[in-house]
Amino acid sequence: MAATSFVIAMSVMTLFWGLIGGVIPWFIPKGPNRGVIVTMLVLTAVCCYLFWLIAILSQLNPLFGPVLTNDTIWYLNQHWQ
């Protein structure tokens, strides 16, 4: 099936944050700060991914559309495809 932009975006972001949260922590060198750095990476990945996911899922099936002024509509007609 043709890759819609939603699928592409989903896979790219999941891969990106999965890399940061799941793969890079294994490569942090051993030292006194390893625990803190690994925690930071995992938590950052989880929080940022979750936040992005909420944003995109909430717009997946909109129940109503934006209300625009007629000037805006005229302008968008000309300039947005």
Partner: protein, 794 residues
């Protein structure tokens, strides 16, 4: 060892060392900064301790040092910076330092006294000098008048009182005839002069002549005495009785009286003698000042070094006061708390200390078991200490429980950023934090409390700014404007004929039109890939969409945060081996939260993922309320087919967990009634608390809404007005308006909103997150550390 997750394991150690090596050993431990001394004499009052005299001596020395520093600042001597780690002096150095200090203080005080006395003399001489010059004028004037009226006599002071001299004369003073008058001359402050004159008039009804003139304020005069204006006056009166009275009045007005020469030729002599005296005095004053500057400069080289030495001595004596001295006066016993991993370091420090003092016996370390709770020690570096500080501000963790600081490093800036969410403001904040971080050392010199707070929290602000840039990009909000990087998913063209209901005329009729996503082509089917679609920024109903999105987002983030907290409590239970708590507390809590709020999140996600027609879409809110009320009617449209079954399961779980709470057993012999009541209260508290805590997370929505609205108001009312001006002065107005925009952005949006979001994110952590697992009833580990001592008093 991942030491930030849990506080370190501490041990109680007994130290035995010889009295001679006490100073060196304690100073070595102080340099190490890893050891907290326990108070072995808790019942003894402060003034009864053994080394209280020495502590007093150190405080006296500190006082003298402060006096020296004040003198140096007054005379603008430069204080040299300290050299690196000096050796701590032992007891005899203390005496030496003490005597040096006392000598210095005495010398300085004497110099200051002499200086003041000399200066006073100089002032008096200057007064006499100007007085002489004035009276010369008076007498000359009188002379010239007398030569016109009567020949003068050489040795008497008699002169004619002429009407030119004073303006306020009584008519009964004679205008001719020589009278024998005496006079009084002196100097009085100018502001007191009118009152002085009035009093004299009341007393003597004009039987006197008063002449006054302002003293010229030369530069030297101003340097010596300051900018006080003084007047020279001279009073001519008749009779000694009156003279005494006038003298008393002058004393009352604090006028300085000087004796004046009677004849015309003496003034010249007196004047010259006064001049020479003044010259001498000036020279002496200069010499005094030079000597003083020399003393101060010599002292300035050492004053900081002395200061740190004295502080260390005081700390050592204070520590010695906490220890026990043996009967034989040769052995000192101390008890210290120390991290287990640092025992070897402590041992080597003690050995070094005893070697320095030349004692042959090495100190003995003896680790003892104890039931007392050790202090909580979290090893932090400059990056993590800010976050540890904000956790400790609420409560220091109980010994060896999970330390939330390691998670707070990310979750706190993240929750802040959810409320702050503007990538333009986030960028400004990040740049500010980078600047503060790079300038931290030079900014510390300002020694202002506010700057200290900002410098201490520079890493927190940096992380807050970076996360704000990310959330700002997702909210698609940069100074209240949106980016359109990937192309909006909404297409206006498809609403028009032939796809949709609009015609060209529709635009003329209606001012506002709504896009309908169910018309094919209007909504592309793929949401905007990164964040909120840019079309919402220009829509009038943007808040309808954003409110729904942000509220659901707050609930999801809040429930996740709280579930994380509950999971951490599991880790605590495992560590402290409270397995019964796992079954009776953790599992019911988890089930309750998951069944209620997990179900809510499931509903939210389900409703987002499936396609619905807008007219028939059920509201999650009503659904939930109906479920709690056990209210099912067949007319209600169900969200999914198994909904009734799912809701039933939910309620069952809820009631089960509540009853299982009340069966929590404890091992100790406590009355069952108490336990039941306690557990019932705990259960109700947890249930209600869960609901109120979840609702509390809605502040994430509320604050981000407020921030976005404020930012938009600023744009619309300030900058847009400037950009819309089409006249020639527009560019100038734009400059002014942009300045206003920038100032308001920084003060209102960055500082005020930043503080507000900081506070609310902190509250969410302290209350909603930490009450799931954190006890916070420990006490902090405060080691004897010379570095922190010198830093705090710097």
């Amino acid at each position: 060892m991942s030491s930030l997750f849990r506080s370190e394991e501490m041990c109680l150690v007994q130290l035995f060392f010889q009295t001679e090596s006490a100073h060196n050993c304690i100073s070595e431990l102080g340099h190490l900064g890893l050891v907290q001394f326990k108070d072995l004499n808790p019942g003894v009052a402060a003034f009864q301790r053994r080394f209280v005299k020495e502590v007093k001596k150190c405080e006296e020395m500190e006082r003298i040092l402060r006096y020296l520093e004040k003198e140096m600042v007054k005379s603008n001597t430069v204080i040299a910076a300290t050299k690196e780690k000096e050796m701590v002096p032992c007891a005899r150095d203390v005496l030496e330092l003490e005597s040096t200090f006392e000598k210095l203080e005495q010398e300085l005080r004497e110099i200051n006294r002499n200086h003041a006395a000399l200066r006073q003399n100089l002032i008096e001489l200057m007064d006499i000098d100007s007085l002489l010059r004035m009276t010369e004028d008076f007498f000359e004037e009188a002379e010239s008048l007398l030569t016109y009226s009567e020949p003068p006599s050489e040795d008497s002071v008699s002169m004619t009182v002429s009407s030119h001299i004073t303006s306020r004369r009584n008519s009964n003073s004679s205008t001719s005839g020589a009278l024998h008058l005496s006079f009084i001359a002196g100097v009085i402050k100018q502001e007191r002069f009118p009152a002085f004159e009035k009093v004299l008039w009341r007393l003597f009804h004009g039987n006197f002549v008063l002449r006054h003139a302002e003293m010229q304020a030369t530069e030297e005069l101003q340097a010596v005495r300051g900018a006080v204006k003084k007047d020279v006056f001279i009073i001519f009166v008749q009779g000694d009785h009156v003279r005494e009275k006038i003298r008393k009045v002058c004393e009352g007005f604090r006028a300085s009286l000087y004796s004046c020469p009677k004849t015309l030729y003496e003034p010249k002599q007196m004047s010259t003698s006064v001049m020479t005296q003044m010259e001498d005095l000036r020279m002496i004053l200069r010499r005094t000042e030079e000597y003083r500057a020399g003393v101060l400069t010599r002292a300035a080289e050492h004053v900081q070094e002395w200061g740190s030495k004295v502080k260390k001595m005081k700390a050592i004596y204070y520590t010695l006061n906490l220890c026990n001295i043996d009967i034989t006066q040769k052995l000192i016993v101390a008890e210290i708390w120390c991290p287990v991993s640092d025992l070897t370091l402590v041992q080597s420090a003690l050995i070094k200390g005893s070697e320095q003092s030349g004692s042959s016996v090495t100190p003995v370390l003896n680790r003892i078991q104890t039931q007392q709770t050790p202090p909580t020690f979290n090893r932090t570096n400059t990056f993590t200490e800010g976050f540890q500080a904000i956790i400790d501000a609420y409560g220091v963790g109980t010994y060896q429980e999970i330390n939330p600081a390691s998670y707070t490093i990310v979750t706190f800036p993240f929750l802040f950023a959810v409320m702050f969410g503007d990538c333009g403001h986030g960028l400004v904040m990040t740049l500010f934090a980078v600047w503060v971080t790079s300038q931290a050392e030079s900014l510390r010199k300002w020694k202002n409390e506010l700057t200290d707070v900002v410098i201490g929290g520079r890493y927190i602000i940096l992380l807050m700014g970076m996360f704000s840039i990310y959330t700002g990009l997702i909210y698609n909000d940069c100074f209240s404007k949106s980016f359109n990087i990937f192309g909006s998913s909404w297409c206006v063209l498809s609403m028009f004929h032939p796809h949709g209901p609009w015609q060209n005329e529709t635009l003329h009729e209606y001012h506002h039109l709504q896009l309908n996503p169910f018309v094919p082509g209007v909504y592309s089917g793929d949401p905007y890939v990164f964040g909120i679609d840019p079309v919402w920024n220009i829509a009038s109903n943007k808040l309808s969409f954003l409110n729904s999105f942000k509220m659901k987002m707050s609930v999801i983030l809040g429930v996740s945060h709280m579930l994380f907290g509950v999971a951490l409590s599991l880790v605590n239970f495992v560590h402290f081996r409270k397995f019964q708590d796992i079954f009776l507390q953790f599992v019911p809590q988890l089930i309750f939260m998951l069944s209620l709020f997990g179900y809510l999140i499931f509903l939210i996600l389900y409703k987002w993922c499936i396609t619905l027609r807008s007219e028939t879409a059920p509201s999650i809110l009503l659904l939930f309320i109906n479920m709690m009320l056990f209210d099912y009617q067949s007319e209600h449209v169900l969200l999914y087919r198994g909904q009734v079954f799912g809701n039933n399961l939910n309620d069952q779980h809820g009631t089960d967990t509540r009853s299982s709470f009340s069966q929590h057993q404890k091992d100790e012999m406590v009355s069952m009634g108490d336990i039941f009541v306690y557990q019932a209260i705990h259960t109700i508290e947890f249930c209600l608390g869960c609901i109120s805590n979840t609702a509390s997370y809605l502040r994430l929505w509320a604050l981000s809404l407020a921030h976005a609205e404020l930012s938009e108001v600023l744009w619309r009312m300030v900058l847009q007005v400037g950009l819309k001006i089409s006249s020639g002065m527009g560019s100038l107005m734009l400059v002014v308006l942009f300045a206003a925009f920038a100032v308001l952005t920084v003060t209102v949006l960055l500082i005020m909103e930043g503080l507000s979001a900081f506070l609310h994110a902190l509250r969410l952590h302290w209350v909603e997150f930490q009450n799931k697992f954190y006890e916070g009833s420990g006490y902090k580990f405060t080691p004897l550390s010379f570095d922190s001592l010198l830093k705090t008093q710097q």
